[in-house]
């Protein structure tokens, strides 16, 4: 059958499955009512230009079911995400479904056409929108509904102060770099004229004018672009630390002062070009570092997103929705299926299954009834309960976790980077050598000669190569990481990974896949497997999914079942043509008096009975990821200690340990225990890497020297992580180590090159063989070698992988 495009989204479908719409002169086809709606809306508003602008790119059809938008108008939400500017409100949204610039155009256009929306600006790269609106004319929910009406979805995010600060810092660097590069480029041209004049002869007055032009140009470079170094040097001196900034700024300032002296009192060439070059090169090196810096994230907010804003409390026979902050101890809270508990408490009525994976890390649901403890932040999957709050919201487990996370992240330990260590000693050594050189020469010579030679020592030791050594190598390393779907959030983690000597692994989701998987299927008597398949298709429980997945490969069809009942935390029952179907765990079988054999194993079992007779038993286990043993043996061969931490029971952990070769493991740990474990290792001077994926790992991740998260892990864990393995593969962790080690090796080599260069040239300068002119030229040469050497990583990597 011929396939044709949907008129809105452009995806291809069979003609028969499309919705037809007769227009005046042509027939239109749509894949769904959503697409049709959006198309007609755009036509009626005269926005059909959109389709021209997309250039027939495929779009995604609009989502059909979206959550109710009225909750966006709750005062808690507004207060949390919006900012008041005069009598207008500014909100930051992330817009889902943007494919091309036409989407941006359409969204902006539609928003602008709404009364009350004053300004809408969407960033194409990040899909973030800043919208300024007048709350008297339009409600937030209406703004979001507008975006939804044209087939996109939007949700608010907190435009974090920290993120804005990073952006501002980056912008500041752009300004300074623009000025520095502009001025340096012009100085270079003038310098070419001067140096050719040096050889072919030039009028003295012209030389002075060229000097003055260079002077004018180098002044903003030194005092505006170079302000970062002067400021850094000032803080260094204040705190008694000799840093690279001191060397850069003393070198540049002295050369600048001396050049002014030359310009005014003599008619030689001045050295303003060296001043501009030093500052520009080192600024570029520093900028590369800022560029690869982690975009600051507000971890708190993401976690808080998992928390409800409001709770339904019962007072007498009235029910009232209140903000979570005003929950008192002793309040009676009602919780329906699909809602998250706000405060901790004890169940007084009803029963429900809870997903506590954000506390325990286990995906298995926990059954709660009378007198069970409810933990704040956990999700009720099914059932209905009322519980009495035993703690206020602020003192509940989840809130405590959030606070602690913030605290831990702020105090994340950092290892001292190699460059910093070297540059400290290097700077003081050079300054002292230069001073000695000056004094030594001054004993036998006049002031001017000794001063020039003294300065030439500083210029020749110009830390350009040193400053470029790390950022360049790191940048190449980061690039290779991205090609391998390994995302280093900050370049310094390359070095931290290379120095790691202890790796702590989480179990669920990291070593294991995190989903139960059928390992054993025992048929007790013959039965229709289609019935079982249909039964498990009805439930979204992980075990049902595991069985469904097992049957997927067989030719199985869905049958219509009747009278379906879900028995909380136990299983499902149903009927089919007088057959009573029953599927679930041993508790369900006991309840319905079905006889089951006794099995002693740490795996999970699922039983299936027809008319009270057991017909099949499934054994399920959480599968260990591919490559785990390979990773562990690699780590052990590199002399790295490996530990396994889990919130799970001892038996399950032993099974994993046996199959992967991990020597040390701890079980039944809470998120707080994991944190203690990491701090304990760190107090023994270990450089600890934590690998995890869940909310229950975030404290440990935050505390570790370098945190590795799985790309599919919870959003918070991804945010807290320093390195993200985008495809969840454990083998990529091995690759992470390899990339880091190669990069670190290259950083060391780069530093070696620049130190070797200095070891040769500094003595020459001290002996007075090098005039500043030669120094400036040879300095660029050393930077060039470092640049070329860094590019070698990509070549080296081809050999490794």
């Amino acid at each position: 059958m011929s396939k044709i495009d949907c008129n809105h989204c452009g995806l291809k479908f069979d003609k028969s499955s499309l919705i037809e719409q007769k227009d005046s002169d042509k027939t239109l086809y749509f894949c769904c009512s959503g697409c049709q709606g959006v198309y007609n809306l755009l036509q009626s508003q005269g926005l059909d230009d959109f389709y021209k602008k997309t250039n027939h790119k495929e779009l995604s059809p609009p989502k059909e079911k979206l959550s109710d938008s009225s909750s966006f108008d709750s005062p808690g939400y507004i207060q949390k995400y919006t900012k008041k500017i005069d009598n207008l409100i500014e909100i930051s949204l992330i817009i889902e479904g943007i494919h091309c610039s036409a989407c941006v155009w359409l969204n902006e256009k539609v928003l602008h056409s709404k009364d009350g929306v004053v300004e809408a600006n969407i960033n194409f790269t990040t899909h973030k929108a800043k919208i300024l609106y007048d709350p008297k004319l339009i409600k937030l929910s209406e703004v979001i509904e507008t975006i939804r009406s044209i087939g996109y979805d939007a949700f608010a995010y907190d435009a974090k102060a920290q993120e804005e600060r990073t952006n501002r810092q980056r912008k500041e660097y752009y300004y300074r770099m623009a000025v520095a590069i502009f001025a340096t480029m012009n100085i270079m041209w003038i310098a070419v004229a001067q140096y050719s004049g040096y050889f072919s002869g030039m009028k003295n007055d012209l030389r002075v004018y060229l000097n003055i032009a260079e002077w004018l140009l180098s002044t903003p470079v030194l005092f505006y672009s170079g302000w970062i170094f002067i400021r850094g040097a000032y803080f260094g001196i204040k705190n008694n630390i000799v840093n690279m900034d001191i060397l850069v700024s003393t070198g540049a300032l002295l050369t600048y002062a001396y050049s002014i002296y030359i310009t005014i009192f003599t008619n030689h060439e001045a050295y303003f070009d060296s001043v501009a070059m030093i500052i520009t090169f080192v600024l570029i090196g520093k900028f590369l570092e800022v560029l690869s810096k982690k975009k600051a994230i507000d971890k708190l907010d993401l976690l808080s997103l998992q928390m409800p804003f409001e709770s339904l409390i019962v007072i007498g026979d009235k029910k009232k929705t209140i903000a979570v902050d005003s929950i008192q101890e002793g309040d009676l809270i009602e919780l329906k299926a699909g809602e998250r508990a706000s405060a901790d408490g004890i169940v007084v009525k009803g029963n429900a299954s809870f997903n506590e994976s954000n506390i325990t890390g286990e995906s298995k649901e926990v059954y709660k009834d009378l007198n069970s403890n409810i933990v704040g932040g956990t999700l009720s999957v099914d059932g209905w309960i009322q519980y009495i709050a035993t703690k206020t919201y602020a003192n509940s487990t989840m809130s405590k976790l959030i606070n602690m996370l913030d605290n831990t992240l702020e105090n994340k330990p950092e290892i001292e980077t190699l460059t910093r260590k070297i540059s400290e000693h290097f700077s003081s050594a050079v300054l002292i050598l230069s001073l000695f050189t000056f004094i030594f020469w001054y004993l036998n010579n006049n002031f001017e000669t000794s001063f020039i030679i003294g300065i030439s020592v500083i210029i020749i030791a110009c830390p350009c190569a040193l400053a470029l050594a790390t950022p360049l190598a790191s940048l190449v390393g980061l690039g290779i990481g991205i090609q391998e779907s390994i995302l280093f959030k900050e370049s310094k983690f390359l070095e931290t990974v290379a120095k790691t000597d202890t790796v702590v692994l989480d179990k669920t989701g990291t070593i294991t896949i995190g989903e139960p998987h059928v390992v054993n299927y025992k048929k007790i008597s013959t039965y229709d497997e289609n019935l079982l398949f249909s039964l498990v298709s009805l439930s979204s429980h992980p075990i049902s999914k595991g069985i469904k997945k097992y049957f997927k490969n067989k030719k199985i069809y869905n049958t219509e079942l009747e009278n379906i009942k879900t028995i909380v935390s136990k299983g499902i029952s149903s009927e089919f043509n007088n057959l009573k179907l029953l599927g679930g765990n041993n508790k369900l079988m006991e309840d319905f008096k079905v006889e089951i054999p006794k099995i002693d194993s740490q795996n999970t079992f699922f039983y299936f009975a027809i008319n009270g007779n057991l017909v099949a038993i499934f054994e399920l286990t959480d599968e260990i990821k591919n490559g785990s043993s390979e990773l562990i043996s690699y780590l052990q061969s590199e002399n790295i200690d490996v530990h396994l931490l889990s919130g799970d029971t001892k038996e399950v952990c032993e099974h994993v340990v046996k199959n992967t070769g991990i020597k040390n493991f701890k079980y039944s740990l809470s998120p707080f225990d994991k944190l203690d474990f990491i701090s304990n290792l760190q107090s023994k001077n270990k450089v600890v890497m934590m690998v995890g994926d869940g909310v229950n790992d975030i404290l440990a991740l935050a505390k570790s020297n370098v945190a590795i998260s799985m790309g599919s892990g919870s959003e918070v864990a991804v945010d807290v992580g320093d390195v993200i393995l985008l495809d969840d593969s454990l083998l990529k962790l091995k690759k992470t180590f390899e990339i880091s080690k190669t990069t670190f090796y290259l950083i060391k080599q780069n530093l070696g090159i620049s130190l070797l260069y200095n070891a040769i040239t500094i003595p020459l300068a001290m002996m007075g063989y090098i005039i500043p002119l030669v120094a400036a030229i040879s300095m660029s040469f050393s930077s060039l070698i470092v640049v070329l050497n860094s590019l070698r990583i990509s070549y080296k990597n081809r050999k490794i992988f």
Binding site: D86, N123, F124, K171, Y174, V179, Y209, A213, L217
Partner: protein, 65 residues
């Protein structure tokens, strides 16, 4: 070449360059380069409609303040 001509050329070329730098910094400050991809596509959205839009928006901002 006389010195004065060289000086004049130097001044003129530096001033021209400076003007370019100032415009670049101005664009940077206005956020024109914040979003590289949007900037590249801006040329596609630059017809009469956009001008009218911009005019309407100006008016709306004035009204609100």
């Amino acid at each position: 070449m006389s010195t004065s001509i060289v000086i004049m050329m130097l001044i003129v070329s530096l001033l021209l360059g400076l003007a370019g730098l100032i415009f670049f910094l101005w664009g940077l400050k206005n956020g024109q380069f914040d979003d590289g991809e949007k900037m590249m596509n801006n040329i596609l959205f630059d017809d009469e409609n956009e001008l009218n839009e911009a005019f309407k928006r100006e008016k709306k901002i004035k009204k609100d303040n």
